[in-house]
């Protein structure tokens, strides 16, 4: 078996067992969507271990729990008839997601315009990442200039709870782990002066999480991921 295949299977197993750290786990979540080999490896791994989950007695959960689930469904937008359910699990952000859907098409246009301007008017970013939500809608543009500064351009207004803040992260390498580029206090374009990092690479992960005011207390992402995406080099 070649090393590459072995590595994919190993990664899939560690992902399924829950042994990856949060950043690597998120990376696999993302890669599964566009790498059929990894998707197949994860599927096979899940089904290898599934028998262990089935050892407990089968049966329904308690009725009270179903009632809680059912009322949770009431608060969730009903799926479009016949179409796929595109509903955020976090229903209090529903308006944001709806706006996001509308912004989706505009986003690619904005991206094209933004790219054109950035090539003409300012230092060329080393990499550009389009950060997307769970539903794959492009919501934030990150341009990393590779000189410890990065420009963050939200494409929608995010609804951040009071006393919380958006924090921008990147994963320069597995060894370094996630590094904060800075806080995003409002849904406005901002240029962050981050720490000195290795030159950003193609496919480097960028993400934004919701953290307590002042930013993550641990220096690592602790809150829910709002959006994430992988860098591309402008051609």
């Amino acid at each position: 078996m070649s090393t590459a295949i072995e590595n994919i299977n190993e990664l899939a197993d560690e992902y399924v067992l829950g042994l990856l750290d949060a950043a690597d786990h998120a990376l696999v979540d993302e890669r599964i969507e566009h790498e059929p080999e990894l998707r197949a490896a994860v599927a096979a791994s899940r089904d290898r271990f599934l028998a262990l989950d089935l050892l407990s007695a089968a049966g329904a959960g308690p009725d009270g729990l179903w009632d809680r689930i059912a009322s949770g469904l009431d608060e969730t937008r009903a799926p479009a008839s016949g179409g796929p359910a595109k509903v955020a699990a976090n229903d209090n952000r529903e308006t944001v997601w709806r706006l996001a859907a509308l912004a989706g098409m505009a986003a690619s246009l904005l991206l094209a315009i933004g790219l054109g301007f950035s090539l003409l008017l300012r230092p060329e970013p080393q990499v550009i990442a389009v950060l997307v939500n769970d539903a794959g809608e492009p919501l934030v543009l990150v341009e990393d200039f590779g000189d410890a500064s990065a420009r963050i351009t939200p494409l929608v207004a995010f609804d951040v709870p009071e006393n919380q803040v958006m924090q921008v992260w990147t994963l320069p390498s597995k060894e370094m782990g996630p590094v904060s580029l800075g806080l995003l206090p409002r849904s406005e374009t901002i240029t962050l002066d981050g720490p000195d990092l290795p030159q950003p690479q193609e496919a480097q992960l960028y993400e934004i999480t919701i953290e307590q005011a002042g930013g993550s207390p641990t220096g690592r992402p602790t809150g829910p991921i709002l959006v994430k995406g992988f860098a591309k080099q402008p051609r």
Binding site: R39, A40, R46, A58, A60, P84
Partner: protein, 184 residues
């Protein structure tokens, strides 16, 4: 029987994607109890496990349209959602209660750990996973079961088995490789 169950669950997921709530109820009635047990094995507390399964069913409902046979069996996909949410809750909680609950957690860990490490022998005699697990040496089998059954990290496995981190990682890695080879 197993095949039949899987077909029923796959059909239920596609009905969920069409907005049919009865289909979600059917999944809950067939699998809900066992999903709570899986989450409880990781979180140890029943009420947390129920919270996790509640969340998991909302996720199943909203993501049902993403399920496809290429993502593995329907049941594996459903349980993975519950497992992931349980692991997230476990990791978030650990950060908060690092100090005071230590000794109590240790006691609980020791009790539930023994159980988790034995449970594989309840697999049916002809089950392929049982046979392949039985071929592993005990350290590798324990390491893998600690991770899968109880949500232990590499570091926690090392601590529990009193070996360096690198040793625990190597046991897990080699054990997983042997299982893959054995279960082909």
């Amino acid at each position: 029987m197993q095949q039949n169950d899987q077909t029923i669950l796959a059909d239920a997921l596609s009905a969920c994607a069409q907005g049919k709530r009865d289909a979600l109820r059917l999944i809950f009635e067939r699998e809900g109890g066992r999903m709570i047990a899986v989450a409880q094995r990781i979180l140890r507390r029943r009420e947390l496990a129920e919270d996790v399964v509640q969340e998991a069913f909302i996720v199943i409902w909203t993501k049902a349209d993403q399920y496809a046979p290429e993502r593995g069996s329907a049941r594996g996909w459903i349980y993975a959602i519950a497992r992931n949410r349980a692991l997230n809750m476990l990791r978030d909680g650990r950060r908060l209660e690092l100090t005071d609950a230590d000794s109590l957690a240790d006691l609980q860990d020791a009790a539930s750990l023994d159980h988790s490490l034995d449970v594989w022998s309840d697999l049916e005699q002809h089950d392929r996973l049982r046979e392949c697990l039985s071929r592993l040496d005990e350290a590798k089998r324990q390491s893998i079961l600690m991770a899968y059954m109880s949500g232990y990290t590499h570091g926690e496995i090392a601590g529990r088995l009193r070996v360096p981190l690198g040793t625990a990682k190597a046991w897990v890695r080699r054990g997983l490789a042997s299982l893959r080879e054995c279960m082909v």
